[in-house]
Each structure stands twice: as C-alpha cells, then as structure tokens.
C-alpha cells in the first residue's frame, strides 16, 4: 500500500511524535536535599554578588563600556584577556575531571538550567499542585484553569525579570540599574538586555526545561566520552532487581522467583527527562539522582535494603573492584592543580603597568642643530593600578643617550592611558650600528616593585 511522503504528517504512519509534557513527581531524600542546597547557594551567590561593594565600587563588575573587569580588589584590562582564556581552560578541565569521577554531577546539581528549572518547577507545584493535580489541570478547559495558569506564569515572569535585572547588574552598577529600571529612566540598550535575558530565563526554565539538556547542551553530547567503566554512574542493579513484579509486602519474593524491583515505576515518574533508568544509563539522564531517592523510599517501605538504584560503577556491577585512582583521574587532577597554581601565581605577581613604544615613522632619524642624531617616539603608559603613580623613566642601550627636554618622569592617573611624545638624542660617535636597541625602564616612585622594561629601536645613519 502506498503512503504519501508528507513531512510532519500526523497520520498513523508518521514516526514523528509530538513532545509529551513531562510531569516530574516530587522527590524527597538525601540527593534531593543536596540539590536544594545547591540551588540555594548558587542562586544566593548569583542574586547576592552584584549587591556587594568593594572600595566604593561594586565588588564584581564587568564594565564593558569602560573595558575593565573588576573582581573584588583586582581590575582586569583587555590586555589581561589571557587570564580569561586560562580560566576557561581551567573550568573545562575541572568539568572533565568531575565527569570522569562521577558522571554528570554538573548537570544534576550545579548547572544553571537545572537550578532555575528546579525553582520554576517548585513554583509550578505550589500553584498547580502535585503531579496528579497538574496532569488533571492540563486536561480541563481554559475556563477552569486560566486563574492557576495565569498566576503561575505571572510569578515566573516576575522571577525572570528579577533574574534579567540581576544579570545586567553584573555589567552595569546594580544600585543605579535597579532604580533606573523601575523609574523607566534606563538606557534603551540596558533595557533591551534586561528583557532579553528575562525572556531567555522564562523560556528556558518555564517552557523548554529538559529540552535544553537534550537538544541544546553541547556538554550533554560529549560527556559520555569522559566516562569509563570505573566512573560512578547512576545504575539500576539488574542482578538484584530483575525479574520485576508486584508482590505482597511480607511475602518471600525470592521464592516466587522475583527480584527486589516491585515495578512501581516511581523511578520513571520522578525523572525530569522522562526516562526509565532500569533500561540502563541513557543520553537523556542528567544524573539528578531523583530515581535513587525515590527507589530508596520504596525499598524502605518494603523493608528491603536500599540501593537498588544507586551510584556505582560498571565494573562494580560486574563484581570487580572500584578504582577511584586511575591514570585518567590522576592526570586530570594534576593538570588542574598545576594550572590553578600557575594562574593564581601569575595574577598575584602581575605588574599593573603597561608600556608601549611607538616610533615615529615619518623619518628614519633627524639631525639636531648641535649635530646629534634624534629619533621621535610616542610613549604610551597604562596605569592599571588603583592609585595614581609617578614613574621614573630611564633610557639605556646607547652610550650617553639623552632625552629631549630632559623628561625623566611621567605621571599617570589610575586606570588611564598617557601618551607622551618623546625625543631621544645620541652623539653620532656613540652609534655603532645603523639600528640599535634602546631600553625604556619605568618604575613607580612610590612602589619600586612596579617596574617594567620595554625595548624600542633607535635608527641612525650608516656607520663606517
């Protein structure tokens, strides 16, 4: 029988199924408590940090217009981009390390998508009720559910707006931002990004939920590459649980030929991505351990030992030993430690001074009235420190090199770039090469450890 090749057809031959909404059942247990702890601390950290002050300014501020990132007492400039790159590499390495140890810990406990979705689901539960009430409500007509739905979406939108303001507050000082936003006196671009980010929060946490994890997240795609047979994963103990079947509570199930699994399918109901962990570890599983909590709860009620679904390794399930320390984990941990130490050392010994020497290209050199050879430069001095400095300048590299107008110091305000035109003069008798290297040494008068040497070129006539 022929069937028309129509895309997205909803006829019975189509293999495309419309997505069914997942109603995760509420869980209680140790992992649920750990997750709640994670949510509270991470959200507290996110919403609280922009309000902290340091030395009269916001403690954490990514001042994009001013092209400076302030983190507590340190200010990072575009020249410090290298540190950001290293930080990103560190974050990636840490992620790989934890994945190799215990799978998708990030996904289940720390990822912002999980954290915000948890809060949005909590709000949904408070407004619409538990799983059975939610399913029932969605089946009723609009007349009966509009109030609850409107309440839920309003709370979601308010929280999203608060999130949007806080996010922009990392880039614009939040005290003014807050006031300006609610008095409608915020700049148009800041306004735009508040609403953009609020919309993203509302869309991802309220509507998309697990679809972000399944379809959008790149980590979800490659995390399995870091998991081996010794990684702790969430697994159903098939040997213990199967064959599954319901039975009376105090019955001897082993005599009946049954395993510990009573096939209550609560592990499926609590799963936020809607999978059945008893089928084995799957791509969609985000490692939230809700199934562990749920099953332990049931096992307790049945007076069976807990852990039918538990954190274990593939090798352990096959009866082999658990290998926490192995080449993969040791190497990740070592590289992580070394890179962290190097990054901290590098930042703490950073010299808050930058010197650029730009030689005037209009002429190779010129001869002064006294017969000296002269090169013209522009000296760019960037004071990346928090206070004003006066720098002593010393030139070396050619014997008896003189600075025009006898300039020997330069004062630069904090966070400013000073462009100083400079003339260097040399007795031609002291010139040994056509092109000589000269060294500009700057050191702060009030802080001798702030010292930098930069080299430039001094050009002269052909020497004999």
């Amino acid at each position: 029988m022929s069937t028309p090749n129509t895309p997205d057809s909803n006829n019975s031959d189509s293999l495309y199924a419309k997505r069914e909404k997942i109603y995760p059942r509420q869980v209680h247990g140790i992992f649920a408590q750990l997750r709640m702890l994670g949510v509270i601390s991470l959200m507290g950290f996110f919403y609280g940090t922009p309000w902290l002050q340091w030395d009269g300014r916001q403690a954490v501020l990514f001042d994009l217009p001013g092209r400076q990132f302030h983190i507590l007492g340190i200010t990072f400039w575009p020249q410090d981009f290298f540190y950001l790159a290293v930080l990103l590499i560190l974050a990636a390495l840490a992620l790989f390390f934890f994945t190799a140890l215990a799978g998708r810990l990030w996904c289940g406990f720390a990822c912002p998508q999980t954290v915000w979705t948890e809060v949005f689901l909590w709000i949904e539960r408070k407004v619409e009720g538990g799983r059975p009430q939610q399913i029932k409500l969605d089946k009723t007509d609009l007349k009966h559910k509009w109030l609850k739905k409107t309440t839920k979406h309003t709370i979601w939108l308010v929280l999203s707006l608060f999130t949007g303001i806080t996010f922009v507050g990392f880039f614009t000082p939040i005290h003014e931002l807050w006031v300006n936003f609610f008095t409608f006196s915020l700049g148009p671009w800041e306004n735009f990004w508040v609403y953009f980010y609020a919309f993203a929060t509302y869309g991802n946490a309220g509507w998309m939920r697990e679809q972000v994890c399944i379809y959008m997240c790149p980590y979800a795609r490659f995390q399995s590459a870091m998991i081996d047979a010794d990684t702790f994963i969430i697994a159903y103990d098939e040997k213990r649980g199967d064959p599954r079947g319901s039975r009376k509570k105090n019955e001897d199930h082993r005599e009946k030929g049954l395993g510990d699994c009573i096939d209550c399918s609560i592990c499926v109901q609590v799963c936020p991505t809607g999978i059945d962990i008893r089928d084995g570890l799957q791509y969609e599983c985000i490692g939230c351990a809700a199934c562990i909590d749920a099953c332990d709860d049931v096992m307790k009620k049945m007076d069976y030992p807990s852990g039918l679904i538990r954190y274990t390794t593939q090798n352990a399930l096959e009866g082999k030993l658990i290998h926490l320390l192995r080449p993969r984990t040791i190497i990740y941990a070592s590289i992580l430690m070394i890179t962290t130490i190097m990054l901290i050392a590098s930042i703490s010994t950073r010299i808050p001074l930058e010197v650029d020497i730009i030689r005037d290209r209009n002429a190779l050199y010129r001869e002064t009235d006294e017969g000296l050879i002269e090169n013209v430069y522009i000296l760019k001095v960037i004071n990346m420190d928090n206070i004003k400095h006066t720098y002593d300048m010393r030139i070396s590299g050619i014997k008896d090199i003189k600075v025009g107008d006898n300039i020997s110091t330069i004062t630069v305000n904090s966070g400013e770039i000073s462009s100083l035109p400079l003339r260097l003069q040399v007795d031609p008798a002291n010139l040994t090469k056509r092109s000589s290297k000269v060294f500009f040494t700057l050191s702060a008068q009030d802080a001798p450890e702030i010292r930098l040497e930069q080299d430039g070129r001094f050009l002269g006539p052909r020497t004999r």
């Binding site: 029988m1 022929s2 090749n5 997505r19 217009p65 092209r67 700049g187 671009w189 990004w193 379809y215």
Partner: protein
C-alpha cells in the same frame, strides 16, 4: 512491500539546530571583534551615528547573529536528501 520512511528529528530540535549554534558563534564573534576594535574608534573612522558602546555591542551582536543564522539555515537546507528514497510498493 513496506515503505521505508525516514525518521525526522523533532521540530524543536531542528529549530534549536538553527538558532542555538548561531547564537553561540555570534556571541564568541562579538567578544573577539570588540576586544580588538573599540566601538568609539569604529564610530569615528566609519562616520557612523553616535551610539553608546553597549548599543554598538548590541547591534554588532545581532548583525553577526543574522549572518550565522543564515549559515545554519543554509546548512540545514543543504542537508535535505537529494534523492527520493521512498518508493511506492513496486
């Protein structure tokens, strides 16, 4: 004779495949571009209207997103099968 039907990925996955990678690359591109080029320098050299830095970042980002989005759209378009793989029972 059974008809071999291609299983299509969910619509949301196809939408995400166009919007999301383009968004990521546009963000990275914006960061790299504006780390090198200061908006005020661009306004001076390019004789462009006087907009705040954040405005320039925003417009630059969305322009870049439009370009990367077109790229993703074209990729998805060119991924469509060329040959008609389903045949009526013959």
């Amino acid at each position: 004779m059974d008809v071999v039907k291609e299983q299509k990925s969910p619509r949301i996955q196809r939408i995400i495949a166009v919007l999301w990678p383009s968004f990521i690359m546009a963000s990275i591109g914006t960061i790299l571009f504006f780390s090198a080029f200061d908006p005020h320098s661009l306004i001076d050299c390019g004789d462009l209207p006087d907009i705040s830095r954040l405005g320039v970042y925003t417009i630059g980002f969305f322009l870049l997103w439009a370009i990367t989005l077109s790229s993703c759209l074209l990729t998805c378009y060119f991924q469509r099968p060329c040959h008609n793989t389903t045949h009526c029972g013959d």
